[in-house]
């Protein structure tokens, strides 16, 4: 099974899990499986039209799927997929 790495800001929506095993042979399937397992993650990854939000970056190994085949990028068993968030930095909380 491919493994999806969840960054800290999104772990609130995966019950604190830092890695989630996902089913699927491409990114699209893997994300469908991920958001089926954790539905509250869905609005953070997809817009209302069902497209991946532009600030969501997914990397298979070292490469951005935008530089590969987008959500059709194939993934292999055991392959690591990284979800890279846009973080503002800083420690501010209101």
């Amino acid at each position: 099974m491919p493994v999806l790495r969840i960054p800290t800001p999104l772990r609130a929506y995966t019950n604190g899990q830092s890695e989630v095993n996902v089913n699927g042979s491409n990114i699209s399937d893997a994300l469908t499986d991920l958001t089926t397992q954790y539905p509250s993650l869905r609005p953070h990854l997809f817009n209302e039209g069902g497209d991946l939000r532009p600030f969501v970056n997914l990397f298979v190994g070292e490469n951005n799927i935008k530089d590969l085949q987008g959500v059709d990028t194939p993934i292999k068993d055991g392959e690591k997929i990284m979800l890279i968030p846009s973080i503002a930095g800083g420690a501010h909380v209101a």
Binding site: N63, D67, M82, A88, G89
Partner: protein, 383 residues
């Protein structure tokens, strides 16, 4: 012509002079170079301390804030003795104590579209140590327009990111993040906080990258993004490519000048301490203190459960902001309700959520529980 080093400087920098990759010539390069550091906070502290110690000839510091004791958990350039003083002045004094051979220029003003190009134009390199999206996009665009390297770092709780965005040689920040997340989707607000040492680790890497770029040695993180997690103690690298559709550095770029970054990001970059929902939706802590004496009010605390261990209001119901949408059925729209959080930003978002769901008798506690602790119940701590 590179400047000469004095006898004192040769002794001061002797451990650099002993490294062939730096040597006397490299040290003279550093003396001849300049670096602008945006923000004198968590990242700016280690960045400025190490760049000053390394002998960068001129360092610029941009910040408009004053030192607060809640900064000292991570902003190690400041101290208890400088609480209440301007951050740029507090930092300048510390840096000149560390290295009186260098020049420190301070800009006690917010970094904005109006002043950024003027401030940044005479520096060789820019270091992004900001804590908000509008200033991050501004910092990036300024670096692209001026053709300067932007040493980027960002932190969140236990996570850090570092890269060198240099549009002349690789991607810029917008190539990776064309646009910021909509304000409602930024989880940092609901769950902020940062391990104090994290900006130390990440800022030190940022300073390392700046020195490499200025010296022209090694392989800077151009076209690469470093991802650090302190809990896993993991360092991962991913490749970044120039985005041909990038609106500031791509071949068909349509953004040619600085824009309104607060509008672009939908969030304010400055004065974001206290959230307000607008006067008609706000209730002040004094008004609330009066109202609770006579009326029944439902108090809804939208903070995270661990924050309740710091301070709490009696009889308040806790529904963290992230769970509110799913738990609306627990609230009665016929009841008078006051929402609160730490200082008002999350409860403002909660109020928007409730009003769009049809709630009308709902108010936002202006300034949050911290305002209550400051003005009504001083036995509560402020955090």
């Amino acid at each position: 012509m590179l400047p000469e080093l004095s006898r004192d400087e040769i002794l001061r920098y002797s451990r650099h002079l002993l490294i062939p990759e730096v040597g006397l010539e490299g040290q003279r390069k550093l003396k001849n170079s300049s670096a602008l550091i945006i923000g004198t906070g968590g990242l700016g502290s280690p960045v400025s301390l190490y760049l000053a110690a390394a002998g960068i000839g001129r360092i610029g510091l941009v910040d408009y804030d004053v030192v607060d004791s809640s900064n000292l958990q991570r902003q190690v350039i400041h101290g208890t003795s400088t609480v209440g003083k301007l951050k740029v002045e507090s930092a300048r004094a510390k840096l000149l104590d560390l290295n009186p051979e260098i020049q420190i220029d301070v800009y006690n003003e917010p970094y904005t579209s109006e002043n950024a190009l003027r401030i940044a134009k005479d520096y060789d390199i820019i270091l992004d140590g900001t804590d908000n999206f509008p200033t991050r996009y501004l910092t990036n665009d300024v670096a692209v327009f001026l053709g300067k390297p932007n040493v980027y770092a960002s932190i969140y709780r236990f996570d850090g990111q570092v890269s060198v965005f240099y549009a002349k040689e690789g991607p810029c920040y917008r190539c990776l993040f064309p646009e910021p997340p909509p304000p409602g989707l930024v989880p940092s607000c609901a769950e902020g906080g940062v391990l104090g040492v994290l900006p130390g680790t990440i800022g030190t890497l940022q300073a390392t990258e700046a020195l490499k770029v200025l010296l022209g040695i090694g392989e800077p993180l151009i076209g690469k993004l470093l991802l650090y997690n302190a809990l896993d103690m993991s360092f991962d690298f991913v490749k970044l490519k120039k985005n041909p559709k990038c609106r500031v550095c791509g071949p068909n770029a349509d953004i040619k000048e600085l824009i309104d970054y607060e509008a672009f990001c939908g969030v304010p970059s400055h004065d974001h301490e206290e959230g307000s929902a607008g006067e008609s939706w706000d209730i002040t802590v004094q008004e609330l203190a009066e109202r609770v004496k006579t009326n029944h009010l439902k108090l809804v605390d939208v903070r995270e459960p661990h924050e309740l261990e710091i301070s709490r209001l009696p009889n308040a119901t806790n529904i963290p902001l992230g769970q509110l949408a799913a738990r609306l059925s627990e609230l009665d729209s016929a009841e008078d309700m006051v929402l609160f959080c730490k200082s008002g930003a999350r409860s403002t978002r909660a109020l928007e959520l409730l009003t769009s769901a049809g709630f009308k008798k709902v108010k936002n506690l202006k300034g949050g529980i911290n305002a209550w602790a400051r003005e009504v119940d001083t036995s509560l701590p402020i955090y």
